[in-house]
């Protein structure tokens, strides 16, 4: 052992990937090191610079930037950087600057490559590496065509367009002539500048709507209208369209959400084409779209229940084709919402029209568009203030029961905490709901909020959406100005913590105990979602989805730069791990759950999980500090 370099090799030996090296290799590294000091603020690596060394932070901290200059991440003592340049083309892609006074050990390229050759763990570490989480997530995205393919790629021809005064007969003739399946309907500019444009002859038009093959059947023939009827009288009132630079995935979601098969594609304010469901199917063979339209065609609860296996099948295919957690969460939520909507339609068909307006409200993961394959139902009914319990509650009680029993039959078990519209407490007019939320926010205590925090993820599913939107607004407006409420929510968000470590065969808990399985929801995604919710409430965000919430949080100074990206990656990784393990369960004929066993985890996934848990742990510490319980003395 080369005792002279003890100082260097001991330090290296404490940090991965050097911690796994033999003493001889460590000595070799230590003896080849070059040292340099960088004062805080000084550039260490500049964009495009040639690089032939691996950089190791002996002391201090650095910031890594993206090409465009925005902060990518931070590295501290014991971290390495520059390995990507060494593995690729020796050019610096991510400039690095000293954030504090920093001492760097430069490890020559030859030593780096030698280590990669002789030590498999070292190679695995630097390749997958360090922005391990990030690269893992980016990799998943890259594999996924739907996320990056823009919808304009699916537009193969110009749309057929007619004026609103055209007769339906003429429109039908044009559709036939052009071998299309829909026409866009234009009119003089009016109320909507978003869809107003000028044609090549400089005439101004506004897109008014779309008339499809099936509209001729449903809206013209079935209703006994004359062939001379102007198309303007037949089309629906709202235009649902998508911008050409949105992703195919977004187009799919838009169709799912509105249950439509034709989608006008806009370049800014001008229509440039129509995308049909089948166009997307060509790109996207998974069947969540079919499933949704199938749901809406079921005449009975029994029919719906028979679709439950299709949900798992669609889930597995989606994951196998490389969907990320947002796509999966969003598709499963849409499927769940579709079941709920169809059950409500069936209930209305049986019970007659509702006596007063209502909105069926989703809570928890469905409201966040983050539903998983293992989920129970959380829902409530918000009724119009015209509601008179003695006269109307019988109707809604019955409706709630039909929906809740139906959902249970379709694979969404009853909520253990009884947060369902069948519970009278959660089947109330808007004014009562407003009182609930006001009390929770203005007179909070952690115990009470523990059971009601689920209500702070809320979204309309069916009915008069405005009833639920008012509640969303109330929460967004009030929460931010009530520190006691935020403190109580923050305290609850700390109830569930990540494990300390994650090893080949066990999970290390903070108290030193070993476990041989871990609940990834309880120990990972749920606490992450909880803490994001607190920040979102603090910044007055109206968003429900955790990633959307992080976008809103980013617009404030609430989190230090780079922190929200780290949370995003950590949440994405935890969610995907959970999803992959559920797929594994389904494929092995086991009931999927939220548990994973460390022995079923690959070593790179283990590294990533460690990083994600660490990100969560840091974020929890910050949460505690950021939202302290205001002292009583005040």
């Amino acid at each position: 052992m080369d005792v002279e370099l003890l100082e260097i090799r001991q330090h290296l030996g404490r940090f991965p990937p050097f911690d796994g090296l033999t003493d001889e290799l460590l000595d070799e590294v230590a003896s080849q090191v070059e040292v340099a000091y960088f004062k805080a603020g000084k550039d260490i690596l500049t964009l495009g610079q040639e690089l032939h060394e691996l950089c190791y932070i002996r002391s201090g901290a650095v910031e890594v930037y993206r090409r465009g200059g925005e902060l990518y991440n931070r590295r501290v003592e014991g971290d390495i950087f520059g390995q990507f340049s060494l593995l690729r083309n020796h050019r610096v892609h991510y400039p690095v600057r000293a954030m504090e006074d920093t001492l760097i050990y430069f490890i020559p390229e030859a030593v780096f490559h030698h280590l990669c050759k002789v030590d498999e763990n070292f190679a695995e570490f630097v390749e997958l590496l360090r922005p391990r989480l990030e690269s893992a997530v980016e990799q998943q995205k890259k594999n996924n065509d739907m996320m990056i393919t823009r919808v304009r790629k699916l537009v193969t021809r110009y749309p057929v367009m007619v004026e609103a005064s055209t007769t339906v007969q003429e429109a039908a003739r044009q559709i036939t002539d052009y071998q299309a399946s829909a026409v866009l309907v234009l009119d003089a500019p009016g109320d909507n500048p978003r869809y107003t444009f000028r044609d090549s002859e400089n005439r101004a038009w506004q897109l008014r709507g779309i008339l499809t093959d099936s509209d001729f059947r449903k809206r013209v023939v079935a209703e006994g209208r004359s062939p001379d009827t102007p198309v303007g009288e037949v089309i629906g009132k709202n235009v649902i369209a998508i911008q050409s630079d949105e992703s195919v995935h977004e187009a799919m979601l838009c169709m799912l959400r509105h249950n439509i098969h034709h989608l006008p594609v806009m370049y800014r304010r001008r229509p440039v084409g129509i995308v049909h469901l089948s166009d997307i199917i060509r790109y996207e063979t998974q069947s969540s779209l079919y499933l949704v339209s199938n749901i809406f065609h079921q005449p009975s609860v029994e029919g719906l229940a028979r679709l439950a296996p299709d949900v798992s099948a669609a889930f597995v295919r989606m994951v196998e084709e490389g969907a990320d957690s947002r796509m999966v969460g969003s598709a499963l939520s849409t499927i769940g919402r579709s079941f709920t909507r169809r059950l409500l339609e069936l209930a209305e068909a049986r019970l007659g029209p509702p006596p007063v307006p209502y909105c069926f409200m989703a809570l928890g993961s469905m409201a966040r568009n983050e539903q998983s394959i293992v989920t129970d139902q959380d829902n409530a009914l918000v009724l119009s203030d015209e509601f008179v319990p003695e006269q109307h509650d019988g109707y809604f009680r019955e409706m709630a029961k039909i929906v809740s029993d139906g959902l249970d039959a379709c694979g969404y078990p009853y909520c253990k905490g009884d947060i369902m519209a069948t519970n009278q407490q959660w089947r109330q007019p808007l004014s009562v709901w407003k009182r609930y939320f006001t009390e929770w926010i203005e007179q909070p205590n952690p115990e009470r909020l523990l059971h009601s925090s689920i209500f702070f993820d809320l979204d309309p599913v069916y009915g008069e959406n405005v009833l639920v939107e008012q509640l969303q607004d109330l929460v967004a407006q009030k929460a931010a100005t009530h520190p006691l409420f935020l403190a109580a929510m923050a305290r609850n968000a700390l109830n569930r913590t990540p494990p300390l470590g994650f090893f080949r065969t066990f999970v290390m808990e903070k108290d030193g105990k070993h476990n041989n399985s871990i609940n990834l929801k309880r120990r990972g995604t749920a606490p992450m979602v909880d803490l994001i919710r607190v920040h979102a409430l603090a910044c007055g965000s109206n968003a429900q989805n955790s990633f959307d919430r992080l976008d809103d949080i980013d617009r404030t100074q609430l989190l230090a730069p780079g922190v929200s990206d780290r949370l995003r990656y950590a949440l994405e990784f935890l969610s995907m791990s959970r999803i992959h393990h559920q797929v594994f369960d389904i494929q092995h004929d086991q009931a999927p759950d939220n548990n994973i066993e460390p022995e079923n985890v690959t070593s790179s996934e283990r590294h990533n999980l460690k990083d994600a848990f660490q990100a969560l742990s840091h974020a929890q510490k910050f949460l505690k500090f950021r939202y302290p319980m205001p002292s009583r003395a005040k």
Partner: protein
Amino acid sequence: MLLRPRRTQIPDWTSYLASRAGLARDRRLARFFAAGAPAPETPIAEAPLVALDMETTGLDPRRNSIVSIGLVPFTLERGFLRERRYWIVRPRRSLNAKSVTFHHITHADIAGAPEFDDVLEDLLDALAGRLVVVHYRHIERHFLNVAVKARLGQGVKFPVIDTMSLEARIHRQSLLARFKRWIGRPPASIRLYDSRARYGLPPYQGHHALTDALATAELLQAQIAHHYSPETPVGTIWS
């Protein structure tokens, strides 16, 4: 903080070394002097440097001996560990218990170690042409001078950058430092590891000649980054 060079008696090293080269009787010394030192106006960023540290049996060159020598060639930009040198040498005078505990060098280490004479050539060659950097110049330069003179009949002197005296200029002689002393604050410690801490440099296990040499090299890089500039002429900071 901008610092004025201190007005002290600094020899004209360039002509001194040149004249010595002609007078040296020993070829090893002649070679060392002939390599000279960077001209005083050389910017520090362009000067080849070498950090030097010695562990000794005591503080008096006439009564105590050198036990180990460590050096790390470096520049303002990089320290080159690969070119480091480290020798344990057998002292002429015996080790006492105190210096054993201090340097972690034991009698067993020394038993098989070479005499100073045997490493002298390698040492002078490693220093030749480079500007020597030490922390507290009165140890290394004097010990080396006395040891060389005892063996070759001729001493060896050369310019050094003393990181301790640079630290003293900053923390003891600046206006602010004098003001602080005037109001009764204790002076800042300018010992190697206390000085390093001020620049965010990590603590090392001290009293190993090679580690201390590396520590000194890093300290100079930090001092220049904070208080001087890469263009600072070496002549304004050597002594």
